[in-house]
């Protein structure tokens, strides 16, 4: 096993309501993920896609997020156990924005195979449109569960919408 390996990668050929990464090998120490994506939502605000682990839809998630959006800074946050999915994990470009623009996010999950500790992720993300919509976000995600992470689901931006075609991703393991 190399000390850094791509575990899964792909580019969506058509829109999808979610991206599921299943049967994640338990042979690495840390995970890193990158998503370049666009959401099928029409809005003048930045879109967002969140995550769940191991199919858990319970109120076991939380997160805090610092941001600069179109020149204004701020912060939003939720304690662990306040959410049913991670918070503002992937900034997305949206369907009514300039064509061909995608949001980009990178995150890490240390010690994802631990069965003793709750899981934490750290991520940075950014997206910029041509009409003065731009954002840089950094923040956390927590999942209050001590199970090893074997599945990650990247969720639709909002109910009934999709992660659009040509969105791409990769998941890597660090030894």
């Amino acid at each position: 096993m190399a000390d850094f390996e791509i575990i899964a990668e792909g580019t969506l050929s058509s829109g999808a309501s979610s991206i599921s990464l299943t049967s994640i090998p338990q042979t690495y120490t840390h995970l890193e993920f990158q998503l370049s994506a666009r959401g099928s939502v029409a809005s003048s605000s930045t879109g967002s896609s969140n995550m769940r682990f191991n199919g858990d839809s319970g109120s076991n998630y939380g997160g805090v997020d610092g941001y600069v959006t179109s020149g204004t800074g701020g912060v939003e946050g939720y304690s662990l156990n306040a959410l049913t999915q991670t918070y503002y994990t992937h900034p997305l470009a949206l369907d009514n924005w300039a064509a061909n623009i995608q949001g980009v996010t990178s995150w890490i999950i240390p010690n994802y195979t631990s069965t003793s500790f709750a899981k934490q992720l750290y991520r940075t993300g950014t997206v910029a449109d041509t009409n003065s919509i731009y954002t840089l976000r950094f923040g956390s995600g927590g999942w209050d569960n001590t199970a090893a992470i074997t599945q990650i689901d990247i969720l639709e931006p909002s109910a009934g919408t999709e992660i659009m075609a040509q969105s791409s991703y990769w998941l890597a393991g660090w030894a």
């Binding site: 190399a2 000390d3 850094f4 120490t29 840390h30 939380g62 997160g63 805090v64 997020d65 610092g66 941001y67 800074g73 701020g74 912060v75 939003e76 946050g77 939720y78 304690s79 662990l80 156990n81 306040a82 890490i108 999950i109 240390p110 010690n111 631990s114 003793s116 500790f117 709750a118 934490q120 992720l121 750290y122 940075t124 950094f138 923040g139 956390s140 995600g141 927590g142 209050d144 001590t146 660090w174 030894a175």
Partner: protein
């Protein structure tokens, strides 16, 4: 890009841990880690988490600097954002170790990247991380995220990196993994 895992630290019951004897044969260094403190009190600014102090080559003189943006809090307990900056410090200090409280299983997530660590320039690094705890139910700290940079005003090659808590000891489950990155 080629990655080589160099070493892992798993400190427990001690207040500091170090990578030493770091080879200069890579281009960059990367550290992924997770930390928790057993301290039950506060530190200087009353925040219920500990500062983790990072030093290179055991240099304790005032030649470090750090600046980071932060997000702190929840929509129910109040939120804060801002910018913290230190110069002429004795370490790169980042708030990435949640304190002890009734739930001991909530650690931070941390990433550090040091380009050109063996070159002859002043050394810089990117350091960032976060933690989320169930504050309301068990009295843990607010969720916190930081994104920042640090520096060491020294042109020596980095051969050791230490992590030390302001107060308390690291608890079991804390870990730091060091990787060497080759760009060719």
């Amino acid at each position: 890009m080629a990655v080589t895992k160099l070493a892992t630290l798993t400190p427990s019951g001690v207040s500091s841990a170090s990578f030493s004897g770091i080879s200069g044969s890579y281009d960059d260094l990367k550290i992924l880690g997770s930390a928790h403190s057993d301290w039950t009190g506060s530190w200087g600014n009353t925040k219920p988490y500990q500062v983790m102090n990072i030093q290179f080559n055991s240099d304790t003189s005032s030649v470090y600097f750090v600046s980071y943006g932060y997000a702190d809090g929840t929509t129910t307990t109040g939120v804060a954002d801002g910018w913290t900056s230190y110069t002429s410090s004795q370490e790169i200090a980042v708030p990435l170790a949640p304190n002890a409280y009734s739930s001991q299983d909530d650690f931070s997530a941390m990433e550090m990247y040091i380009p050109a660590y063996s070159g002859s320039r002043q050394k810089k690094c990117r350091v960032q991380g976060s933690f989320v705890t169930p504050y309301a139910s068990v009295g843990g700290p607010n969720p916190v995220a930081i994104m920042g940079n640090g520096g060491w005003d020294n042109t020596s090659a980095i051969t050791s990196i230490s992590f030390a808590l302001n107060y308390g000891d690291f608890v079991s489950g804390t870990s730091f993994t060091l990787y060497g990155i080759s760009n060719s």
